[in-house]
C-alpha cells in the first residue's frame, strides 16, 4: 500500500479539534472524495479528535492519503498517552459515555468509516485508526 500524502498534527486545545476537521476536509477534497464522504470523514475525525483531547489528555493525529492499486483512501490515526480504555467493547457500545456526552463518539466514528481499529492499554494510552475508501 502506497502513502500518497501524510500530515501530522497535535491535538491539545478545542481550537486544534477545529484545525483537524479543516485539515481532514482539505485532504479529502484533494483525494477526490464526494461531498457526502467528505462530511462523513470530517465528522468521524471530529468525534475522535475530541476523544483524544477529552479522554486522552491530548495527543496527535496522522492524516494519510493511501493508495491500493486504483483505490484511494484516507487513513486517520489518533494517538494519545492517556489513561487508556479498560473495556473497549463497552466503550464501543452506543450510548456508553464516561463524560456525560451522548456516547456516540467511538461507535459513531466506526459507523462512518470503512475500516476501524482500536488499541488501548490501561495506563499507556489509546490508538484509533480509521480508513475510508473512495
Amino acid at each position: 500500500m502506497a502513502v500518497l500524502l501524510s500530515d501530522s498534527r497535535g491535538i491539545h486545545t478545542p481550537e486544534d479539534v477545529v484545525a483537524v476537521r479543516q485539515a481532514v476536509r482539505q485532504r479529502a477534497v484533494e483525494l477526490g472524495f464526494n461531498l457526502v464522504d467528505q462530511t462523513k470523514l470530517v465528522t468521524a475525525a471530529s468525534e475522535l479528535a475530541r476523544n483524544t483531547l477529552q479522554y486522552g489528555g491530548g495527543g496527535t493525529v496522522l492524516i494519510e492519503g493511501i493508495g491500493n492499486g486504483l483505490r484511494r483512501g484516507l487513513r486517520l490515526t489518533f494517538e494519545d498517552k492517556g489513561p487508556g480504555i479498560a473495556n473497549i467493547d463497552e466503550a464501543l457500545r452506543d450510548g456508553f459515555s464516561s463524560a456525560g456526552g451522548l456516547g456516540l463518539g467511538l461507535s459513531g466514528a466506526r459507523r462512518l468509516s470503512s475500516e476501524f481499529q482500536i488499541d488501548s492499554r490501561p495506563g499507556e494510552g489509546t490508538r484509533v485508526m480509521i480508513t475510508r475508501w473512495r
Binding site: 478545542p14 481550537e15 479539534v17 457526502v36 462530511t39 465528522t43 471530529s46 456516540l104 459513531g108 459507523r111
Partner: protein, 128 residues
C-alpha cells in the same frame, strides 16, 4: 471571547451559525441564548445551520439541549437549513435529533413559529 451573535426579530430570536464552532463557543451560545430568551421574552428561536459543514455528536447535543431548555422557558426552537450531506451523516452517526424541530429554511421555520403562537393565543382565548 468570541461569541455567536443573537438577533432579536419581534417575538423571535435568530441565530445564524457561520463559523466552525469549537466546543467552548458552542457552550457559550447555549448560555447566551437561554439568557436572551428570558430577557427578550421570546416565544421562539430560529437556529440557522446552513453554513455548518458538519454536525457531530457535540453540536447535536447542543441543539437538543437548547431545544429542551427553551421549551422549559416557554419558547420553541426550530433548527433550519441543514445541508443534505450533514443530514445523511448525522443519521449514520446515530443521531436523530429527536425533540428538535427542523425546517428546510428560515422562511419555513418562521412560518412554523408563527403558527405556534397563533394556536397558543387561540387556546388561551378559549380557556379564558
Amino acid at each position: 471571547m468570541e461569541r455567536i451573535p443573537i438577533l432579536k426579530m419581534g417575538d423571535y430570536l435568530l441565530v445564524t451559525i457561520q463559523v466552525d464552532m469549537h466546543d467552548r463557543l458552542a457552550m457559550a451560545l447555549q448560555d447566551d441564548l437561554t439568557g436572551r430568551i428570558v430577557s427578550a421574552r421570546s416565544k421562539g428561536v430560529l437556529i440557522d445551520i446552513s453554513a455548518l459543514e458538519i454536525v457531530d455528536s457535540f453540536i447535536g447535543r447542543m441543539l437538543g439541549d437548547i431545544a429542551a431548555m427553551s421549551r422549559v422557558l416557554d419558547a420553541e426552537t426550530v433548527v433550519v437549513g441543514m445541508r443534505p450531506a450533514v443530514a445523511i451523516t448525522l443519521v449514520e452517526l446515530g443521531l436523530s435529533l429527536s425533540g428538535v424541530r427542523t425546517a428546510l429554511n428560515v422562511e419555513r421555520g418562521m412560518e412554523l413559529l408563527r403558527r405556534r403562537i397563533v394556536d397558543q393565543a387561540r387556546t388561551d382565548g378559549s380557556t379564558a
